[in-house]
Structures are given as structure tokens and as C-alpha cells.
């Protein structure tokens, strides 16, 4: 509103071909109102499905409100008490720590590295090998979470599990003895497809001539990777890491494998929120406070990554 000098090319006569300014924001030539009209549907959807729920979560977080019992009938306004309780709740700290472990090992390290290695080693493989690999890896990604969780339960079952049958370790309760390792490996297995596809595409953008020059200069494969490939696809790496970090942060599938147990040892934040807000205690207000903290954590991660992306430009 503050810039009266903004030109309106849409209203300007066609003959006036000289650009009004070197930094004309109206590249498409739509004018303010028509541009607003184009953006409005998207903005309205964002407002309804993103901004409103976030505000609603903030509001619920200010209430002593539960799914059952007296406070379901008459919620009490408690100000910021839920938030102060949440920050001093040892279960929350533990869940946050476990979430960071989960995201760090399964997404940032696991999916990223495995996805890249698959894309790198199979980039020149025969077509049918690549198709087979794509189908296998994609299957893990596109199958519904509940189906996949059931398959993994059959794999890891203590008495009749496939894994115990192969290793002759009947009686080993994998999900109880190593809950975090199980959900981390599970998520690497499940989510690698996305990273692999993204890196396959990214590797195609590396000019063959650069690699050829490096080879002629006597660079070993490792040196080619470090000095030619990685610098070229750096922005893809950041984008990929941002996306999989956020997805994994909010991932609920671990619940289907370990239920957050045993003894809260694999209780990541989304599982913790579910158990607080809906199962057991059913404290919707308190759970909303955690949800908002999770939202803020997501925003912080997103901002950090976007800063890094800009810095590399």
C-alpha cells in the first residue's frame, strides 16, 4: 500500500513499451487486484487448513480441556499453565530427545545416505536393474503404513517371527530390547525411496563433461564425488534433508510398531501427543500445548534450512 510509484502495466497503453522501473514487481502484468484474485483461492485454503488449525491449537492449549470427565463439559481457561507444565514434564524432554535421535539417525543420516548411495551406484546400471530396484524401493514407500507395520510385526515377532527364524534366535523380542533401533531401521527402509528418486534426478543434472574432465585429471571416484558431484547437487541435498526432516519429525508410524514402549523408550513426540491427548489421560488441552511446541520446532527447522539454502545461492 505504501508504494504509490508502483506501475500498473496492465492499465498502461500497449505502445508505452519502456519499463517503468528496473525492479518492476509486476512481472506477469496482472495488476494488484487481478494478482490478488489469482492468489486468493490458495491463500484461503492455507488460511482454513493451516493458519486456523494452528490458532485453534494455540487456543486449546490455553484450556484445561479433556475428552472425558468434568472438563469435557466445562473447559477451564488456565492461561499458559499447560505450556509451563509441558516444558517441565520429564516425559516431554525425553520424547523430544528421542525424536531428535529418530530424525537424526533415520532421516538426516539414514535415508539421505542410503538414498544417495543407491542412486550413485546404480546410476549407470542396466535399465532393467534400475527398474527392479525402483520397484522394490518404491514398494516400501507406497504401501499403506498399517500394512507395512503388520508385515514388520510378522518379521520381528518374538515367537514366530521371520527374523528370529532366520537367525535362530527364537525368543528375542526385538521391539522390546531395541525399540529405537527398530523404528530407526524401519524408517530408513520405508523412506529411502524418496531420497533415492530425488538424488537420481539430481545426479542427471551433473554435467558429464565436468566428470570427464575430472577423470582425465586423474581424480578417483571418491574425489569426483567430493569435488564435482556434491558441490553441484548441494541444493538438492538441502531441500531433500528439509523435507525428510519435517516428515520424520511428525511421523506417527513408530506407534504401530512399538506403541511408544516399552516404558516410553520409543515414545517420540507425535506418539507422546497422541497418548496424552487421546489415549489414556485424554487431556486435549495439555496435548494441544505439546502440539504447538512441535509446530514451533518444525518452524525453527524450516527456517534454519531455508537460511542455509539462501546462503548457498
Amino acid at each position: 500500500m505504501a508504494a504509490p510509484t508502483t506501475s500498473r502495466p496492465a492499465e498502461a497503453p500497449a505502445a508505452d513499451s519502456a519499463p517503468a522501473s528496473r525492479h518492476d514487481p509486476d512481472v506477469a502484468g496482472l495488476g494488484r487486484w487481478r494478482a490478488t484474485g489469482f492468489a486468493a483461492p490458495a491463500l484461503i485454503l492455507v488460511a482454513i487448513f493451516l493458519v486456523f488449525p494452528a490458532l485453534w491449537t494455540l487456543y486449546l492449549g490455553l484450556l484445561d480441556y479433556s475428552l472425558g470427565g468434568k472438563t469435557a463439559q466445562s473447559p477451564q481457561y488456565v492461561g499458559l499453565r499447560n505450556f509451563s507444565d509441558a516444558l517441565s514434564d520429564p516425559l516431554f524432554t525425553k520424547a523430544l530427545y528421542l525424536t531428535l535421535l529418530y530424525v537424526g539417525f533415520s532421516a538426516v543420516l539414514g535415508q539421505n545416505v542410503v538414498g544417495f548411495l543407491l542412486a550413485w551406484y546404480f546410476r549407470n546400471a542396466r535399465a532393467w536393474v534400475r527398474v527392479m530396484l525402483n520397484v522394490l524401493v518404491l514398494l516400501a514407500w507406497i504401501l499403506p503404513g498399517s500394512v507395512v507395520a503388520f508385515l514388520w510385526q510378522a518379521l520381528l515377532d518374538r515367537q514366530n517371527g521371520t527374523l528370529n527364524a532366520i537367525l535362530h534366535t527364537t525368543g528375542t523380542a526385538w521391539t522390546i530390547d531395541h525399540p529405537m533401533a527398530v523404528i530407526i531401521i524401519f524408517n530408513i527402509w520405508r523412506g529411502t525411496a524418496f531420497s533415492m528418486l530425488l538424488y537420481s534426478a539430481a545426479l542427471n543434472t551433473v554435467p558429464a563433461s565436468h566428470l570427464e574432465v575430472a577423470r582425465l585429471a586423474g581424480a578417483r571416484p571418491w574425489q569426483q564425488l567430493r569435488d564435482v558431484v556434491l558441490p553441484t547437487i548441494r541444493r538438492h541435498v538441502l531441500t531433500n534433508t528439509l523435507l525428510i526432516t519435517l516428515w520424520t519429525f511428525n511421523d506417527f508410524t513408530p506407534y504401530l510398531l512399538t506403541g511408544g514402549g516399552p516404558d516410553n523408550k520409543s515414545q517420540t513426540l507425535p506418539v507422546f501427543i497422541y497418548r496424552t491427548a487421546l489415549l489414556g489421560q485424554q487431556r486435549l488441552g495439555y496435548g494441544s500445548a505439546f502440539s504447538l511446541l512441535l509446530l514451533i520446532a518444525n518452524l525453527i527447522i524450516a527456517v534454519i534450512y531455508i537460511r542455509m539454502l539462501r546462503a548457498r545461492r
Partner: protein, 475 residues
């Protein structure tokens, strides 16, 4: 830029203010005479039953007997009734969660099953209303009430008002495998007289390879089964009820609570039980499977195990993987002893815990009178006898019990020996939160915490759950 920030902040503030007061409880208005003379009625029934799965016998009874019977009855009156059954086959905690969400959003079935211990929570949330308000005189003057004892009616009563028709009751006993007992040199007519007798038998069973001597439910994954089948019968054996009705106080880290947790320690930290089974997400089902295969020596459960899990008939769906064709000769049952003889509640030698489910009406139903007709039809003597043909259980109705219970030795045992000494759980709105805290305490002990430390943690959780230390009894 500064203008924009101010705009965002003020918009957010306005939105938050507008939202304030948006959340309020359900104020369902009941109108018993609504649609009384409707010629076309549609009703739904929901329960945690599913044909071919969990509680299959009841699901089959609803779809094959109740619905056709009710539709025919209404047709004779010139009313076209359409009744559908919404089944489920999940853990009780998850069924309850779904039920409360359904009631909260006004989408619950007209007639639904609920556990009596949930009533305090449902009623204080305004999700259910007394029958006198939803239905009126048709319900209060029902002839079936004369057949249902006051104790059983208590299961679906809250603050002196009755909210639905009870489905029956149950009782907890110790089941044991006579074959394993014989191998361990224990008698087939075993009846422990104290907790030490249980541990001593466990020590003998421990010598058998591949056998877990004792299964007393512990931990959070088993949910209410930990509280009802494990902690509470043991606590009753120390002479203290969980909730003192006269002082309105819950038991905190008392010596009795600590004694129960110490008994858990003796079982699960000294090799008499399998701690991992208590931490397993499907631990309860696993324990049933192991018991049916003769890999567990003794197990505390209600009559549910006998009739729905280890039934001799493999073709009865629900039992197909855990059926025990030789159940009647292999499985024995004994009363749960007090910690020491005479130290149980009311000075008893033996104790038990009972509960019971029932059928409630959604206060928001469009057809209150017709929903009541359906409900009272389900709990009529004729329909209950049909149910007992599919599966004998302790009905709420005395007339039905007289006609059916004699055919089953365990149910006769529970009706004659267990029900007179049993205790019921408090129907308080905080019960569920207390129950979860108790489950956590047993989980802590199974994982290796000392009973004293687990009891201390339990007390601090309890104080938060019931609204302060004033409601908690210590020492």
C-alpha cells in the same frame, strides 16, 4: 515491514479472542417424546464385537437374533425399522476413545456398549444421561429391573441414577494347567491360601523347561486388564480398597500398595514370570496363546478367558487359534487368596474383583422411545437366553442365570463362590486416570524399579490425577 508485523499480531489477537468461548461441552437436550409415532425408524447399535473376531458370539447374536427379531416386532406394530450394527474388534482403551470422540461430535450409535467403569467419565462429560431423562417412564417402569440385582445395577449407576441396562457381571479367578502342575508335583485340586503359596507353586513350576510359572498382568500395554486382573485383586488381598467411600480418598503409597508392588517384583524379577510379555504391545493376546499351548502355569483372568479364549470348540470363532479341546480336564481354577489368610477386605480369606459392561443410550438419539424398545428387547429374557445358547455367561438377569448357568462348571463356581466375596471398582470420573497410574507403577517394577520408588512415583501421579494431596491417603 513493521506495519505488516503489527497487522499479523493484531489479526492473531482478534482471531484468538473470537475463538475464546468456542469450546464448550455438549449440552444435549433430551426430549423423550421426540418421534414417538414415527412410522419409519433407523437405529444403530455399536459394541466392541465383530463377527468372526473379538466377542464373535455377541456380534453374531446381535446380527442374527436381535436385529431380525426387533425388526419383526416393530413390523407387527406397523413400523418399518432399519437397524444396523457397527462392530469393532480393538483393545478396550481404543474402543473407549472412539466412543468418546463419537459422542463428542454427536455421531455415536443410538445404542452402544460400554464398560461400567467408564460411566463416571462419560456422565460427568455430559455424554450420557440417566434413562429417566432420555426415555422417561417407559424405562423406569420396565419389568426387567426386578430380575437384576442392586449390585449389578450399581455397575451402570452414577450418583444414584441408572444410565443403561447392565449386560451381566464377571469374576476373577486363578486358572492353572493341571498337566503342568502334575509334572511339577502339585495337586490337581490346588487352592493357594496366601501369596506365599502362589510363589511356592511358582518355584516348583520353574523347574519345568520352557514354562513361565505365573502370569499376573502388569504394565501399560495390557491396560485395564493390568488393573482389574492384577493389581486390584492383589490390593483387595491386603485388606484395603483402592477408594475409601467414606473419606473419599484414594490409596497413595501406602504399605499395602507397596506390598502389592513387591509381590510383582518377586514374580517378575525372580524368574517366576516373563517380564517381556508385560511390555509387549500384544502381550495379553500372547499370554492367552501361551496358556492355551501349555506354556504358562497359572494365569489370573475373568471368566472371559474360559468362555471366549480357551473354549473347547475350535469352530467357535474367536477361539480358533487358542481353543483347548481338553479344557475341561486340563484347566483348573482356584480362588485368589488374600496376602495371608484372613487379611483380605472385610477380613476375608479369598478375594476377587468384578465389573460388568452394559448397554447405554445416546442422549442425542432421534428416536428415544424406539431406541429404548431395542435396548429392552436385547435385555429381555428371551433374547438373553438366545445369547446364552451361543455362549454361556453370567447374565444380569436372575431368571436367565437360573436357566442357563448350571451347564457350565466355571460359571457356576463364579456365581456361587466368587460373587459373594468380590469387590467392584469405584465408578468415579477419575478412576481411569488412577488406573493408568497403577499400570505404570507395575510397569516400573517389572522394568526393575524398586517397589518403594514405583509407589512414590505413583503417588505423585495420583495427586495430579485426582486433584491434590487432600484426596490421597498415605501411610
Amino acid at each position: 515491514m513493521r506495519v505488516r508485523v503489527a497487522a499479523v499480531v493484531s489479526c492473531t489477537a482478534v482471531a484468538t479472542l473470537l475463538l475464546s468461548g468456542c469450546v464448550s461441552g455438549k449440552k444435549t437436550k433430551t426430549n423423550p417424546s421426540q418421534n414417538t409415532s414415527a412410522k419409519s425408524v433407523s437405529l444403530t447399535i455399536s459394541a466392541n464385537d465383530v463377527v468372526g473376531g473379538k466377542n464373535a458370539a455377541e456380534a453374531t447374536w446381535i446380527t442374527k437374533d436381535v436385529i431380525p427379531g426387533f425388526v419383526a416386532m416393530e413390523k407387527a406394530k406397523g413400523v418399518t425399522a432399519k437397524v444396523s450394527f457397527v462392530g469393532a474388534g480393538v483393545d478396550d482403551e481404543k474402543y473407549k476413545q472412539k466412543l468418546e470422540l463419537d459422542l463428542h461430535t454427536g455421531k455415536a450409535s443410538d445404542v452402544f456398549a460400554a464398560d461400567g467403569i467408564w460411566l463416571g467419565e462419560l456422565a460427568s462429560a455430559g455424554y450420557v444421561k440417566p434413562l429417566s431423562q432420555v426415555v422417561g417412564s417407559a424405562a423406569t417402569s420396565w419389568d426387567g429391573w426386578a430380575q437384576i440385582s442392586k449390585t449389578v445395577q450399581q455397575n451402570l449407576s452414577y450418583q444414584g441414577q441408572i444410565y443403561g441396562i447392565p449386560n451381566g457381571t464377571d469374576g476373577r479367578v486363578i486358572y492353572f494347567n493341571k498337566k503342568l502342575f502334575a509334572q511339577a508335583g502339585l495337586p490337581a485340586t490346588w487352592q493357594p491360601k496366601s501369596w506365599d503359596d502362589i510363589l511356592a507353586a511358582g518355584q516348583k513350576l520353574k523347574a519345568l523347561p520352557g514354562v513361565d510359572p505365573i502370569q499376573i498382568n502388569a504394565g501399560t500395554p495390557m491396560g485395564e486388564a493390568t488393573t482389574a486382573q492384577g493389581f486390584l485383586p492383589l490390593l483387595a488381598g491386603t485388606g484395603q480398597p483402592l477408594f475409601d467411600e467414606s473419606t473419599k480418598k484414594w490409596q497413595g503409597a501406602t504399605p499395602q500398595v507397596t506390598a502389592v508392588l513387591d509381590f510383582y517384583r518377586k514374580i517378575y524379577r525372580q524368574g517366576l514370570g516373563d517380564p517381556k510379555l508385560q511390555q509387549d504391545q500384544s502381550g495379553r493376546d500372547e499370554s492367552f496363546a501361551e496358556f492355551s499351548k501349555g506354556k504358562i502355569g497359572m494365569l489370573v483372568e475373568s471368566d472371559y478367558l474360559w468362555r471366549s479364549i480357551i473354549c473347547p470348540d475350535k469352530s467357535q470363532s474367536g477361539c480358533n487359534t487358542t481353543a483347548m479341546p481338553d479344557r475341561n480336564t486340563t484347566v483348573g481354577y482356584a480362588l485368589i487368596p488374600a496376602e495371608k489368610a484372613g487379611e483380605g477386605v472385610n477380613g476375608q480369606n479369598f478375594v476377587s474383583v468384578s465389573g460388568g459392561t452394559g448397554w447405554l443410550l445416546n442422549p442425542g438419539t432421534k428416536y428415544p422411545q424406539q431406541a429404548w424398545e431395542l435396548l429392552s428387547y436385547m435385555q429381555s429374557a428371551a433374547a438373553q437366553e438366545q445369547l446364552s445358547k451361543a455362549q454361556t455367561r453370567i447374565s444380569a438377569r436372575a431368571d436367565v442365570n437360573t436357566a442357563t448357568l448350571n451347564s457350565d462348571p466355571l460359571l457356576t463356581f463364579i456365581a456361587d463362590k466368587v460373587l459373594p466375596i468380590t469387590v467392584y471398582r469405584p465408578s468415579d470420573e477419575n478412576y481411569d486416570a488412577v488406573s493408568v497410574a497403577l499400570q505404570q507403577a507395575t510397569a516400573d517394577v517389572v522394568a526393575g524399579k524398586s517397589p518403594q520408588a514405583a509407589a512414590k512415583t505413583y503417588q505423585s501421579t495420583l495427586e495430579k490425577a485426582v486433584g491434590g494431596a487432600d484426596h490421597v491417603q498415605t501411610g
